[in-house]
Amino acid sequence: MNPSTPSAGGYWKLLASTMAVLVIWLGVLPWIGQLAPVEQHLQTLRDSHVDAGAMFYSELDPRVFPDREALREFLHSRSARTLTRHSPPPSHD
């Protein structure tokens, strides 16, 4: 930590860093987000209820988990061939 009195140079560096962040987040990233493949990918994630930024399983939308019963069947029955959604094991929402 550097709690000393900030210099003028420090403020200029802070201003430059802030400008860089603003340009990237308000200009570059929205532009990338509008590119057709990226937009399509983002829409796919939205439609699938996937939050790619989740850190832990409890932060994911419960709908991305397979149904508990279907999962059990899926593992233990030879006839189980499909998994359904909407009744997940973790439902922290």
């Binding site: 550097n2 983002l42 991305v64 029955s77």
Partner: protein, 501 residues
């Protein structure tokens, strides 16, 4: 995290350690949050004329010989339960983080109702979240002798910086690559500390380690041990077998072959790469008392490789025509971060995504076991080596990170509740629905603190010589190979029939 120059802090053995020592205070504050969240959970409202399924079943069974079919008929009679029938905490609507946005960051401060489409401001809830965190932490700061009033201005500024970090992380393009809020919290802190310097008035609120330990106690409640068995034998083999083997092998490789100077850096990188990314890095870093720069280094490596792997792995899977179940298990076992696993799995197929998130969920739960194991190993072996003599049991107890006990206790209590009954599971879900928001804020605070206390010059030596990178790449290569082998063995050979391949 430990200060880069500090010695290992050993708590006093007197009873005052229970309120003066940060580890214990983290347990009390975490328990307080869990208690508050639990007390605000409301049972679902029941309309006066609504009869329970059992009594309706009894009525129906009067005309039916088969009670089971009567229950089924009764279930058909009763209209589907409204969404509010699930227990929910009244605090939940007051605890938020900024939402996603694409072009206008102001959108992050509004929530859109899924049904009516109306927008409502998140600012009151964000402010309430800050207040709910401020009061216990300011009180704890006062009790530990660090000052109550002095804590408040620093905390408010840190809350604003954490808010900014969340807004940076919820931009949709950033979010899709799993570049989590911890990275932006670190960046925001680093920009300030390396330009104008960290203002002195922030210092009382810069207790990153305390936020992490409290957040980990709350995370314990999300670690439901019953979910370790979610995939049965294949899940056990892929997650229980591969994960510890990769973790231990990578750690030994780092110590013996790479000769890493810091065993804690080695452990944090090995854990985040083999278990579940940032959350594992935070948990094991706290358990082995890693320095804040070591945690930053490990998190940076993990997020960079996660972003790379979540794009490349689905491409490889498609190119070689890998079976979707094997592919899902491989993705779940190798990509560090949970959200990235879900996104990469979904790129392969819906089924691959489902298998991937279940495998990753098991690994998530494993961090409880891993963090506890690392804490025990560090206290009994690594610190013993440093000290040179064999410590007594009392010495081991004094050195043991006490917050791990809160972390494990929360996990055991909530696991018991979730497995004991459906009501217990619903109650645990409702409580965790609240505390996971608080935990998210606490981890964000922690990384803002780390950034504010770190200078670029102090970070550079941790990347010098490229050993952390070599360790990560070698460990991840082993992880990729072993996970693929085990996924293929389990889902492509042993349980091939049962999964309908």
């Amino acid at each position: 995290m430990s200060d880069s120059s500090a010695e290992i802090v050993i708590p006093p053995s007197s009873i005052s350690a229970l309120w003066k020592f940060e580890d214990w205070m983290a347990v009390w504050v975490g328990a307080l949050f869990l208690l508050i969240a639990g007390l605000t959970v409301n049972s679902p409202p029941q309309t006066p004329d609504q009869k329970p399924v059992e009594s309706l079943a009894a009525e129906v069974s009067e005309t039916s010989a088969d009670p089971k079919s009567a229950e089924t008929k009764a279930a058909e009679v009763i209209p589907p339960a409204p969404k509010s029938a699930k227990p929910v905490s009244s605090l939940k609507r007051w605890l938020k983080i900024p939402g996603k946005w694409s072009a206008n960051p102001v959108d992050a401060f509004f929530a859109k109702d899924r049904v009516s489409g109306t927008r409502s401001s998140l600012l009151p809830a964000l402010g309430m979240t800050g207040l709910l965190l401020l009061i216990p932490f300011a009180l704890a700061s006062g009790i530990m002798g660090n000052g109550f009033v002095k804590f408040i201005p620093g905390f408010i500024v840190m809350w604003l910086l954490a808010l900014l970090s969340f807004v940076l992380s919820t931009q949709e393009v950033i979010n899709q690559y799993n570049l989590e809020y911890v990275l932006w919290g670190l960046l925001v802190g680093l920009i300030i500390s390396n330009t104008i310097g960290t203002p002195a008035f922030l210092k009382p609120a810069l207790c990153g380690e305390f936020y992490i330990k409290t957040g980990l106690v709350l995370l314990g409640a999300e670690i439901l041990l019953g979910r370790l068995l979610a995939l049965g034998v294949p899940g056990i083999c892929i997650s229980w077998l591969v994960t510890p083997v990769v973790l231990i092998t990578t750690f030994i490789f780092g110590q013996k072959l790479l000769k890493m100077e810091s065993p804690s850096l080695n452990m944090v990188i090995s854990a985040d790469m083999s278990v579940c990314g940032v959350s594992a890095a935070i948990a094991t870093g706290a358990a082995c008392k890693a320095k804040k720069e070591e945690l930053s280094c490990a998190v940076g490596l993990s997020l960079a490789f996660t972003a790379l792997m979540m794009v490349v792995q689905p491409i490889i899977i498609r190119a070689v025509g890998m079976d979707e179940i094997v592919a899902g298990a491989w993705i779940g076992g190798t990509i560090d971060s949970t959200g990235a696993v879900a996104a990469a799995g979904e790129l392969v197929s819906q089924r691959a995504g489902e298998v991937a998130v279940v495998i990753k969920m098991i690994q998530n739960v494993l961090i409880g076991v891993v963090a506890f194991g690392v804490a025990v190993y560090w206290t009994t072996c690594i610190e013993q080596e440093t000290k040179g003599s064999r410590p007594s049991l009392m010495e081991i107890w004094r050195r043991f990170p006490k917050f791990i006990l809160g972390f494990v206790a929360a996990s055991l209590v909530f696991s018991w509740m979730a497995e004991n009954s459906a009501q217990g599971a619903a109650f645990a879900d409702a409580t965790v629905g609240v505390t996971k928001q608080l935990r998210t804020w606490l981890f964000c605070f922690a990384f803002v603190c780390i950034g504010l206390e770190t200078h670029f010059k102090t970070l550079a030596p941790y990347f010098a010589g490229g050993k952390p990178l070599v360790l990560y790449v070698c460990g991840q290569s082993l992880n990729l190979a072993l996970s693929l082998l085990m996924s293929w063995l389990m889902f492509g050979v042993v349980f091939k029939e049962s999964v309908g391949l």
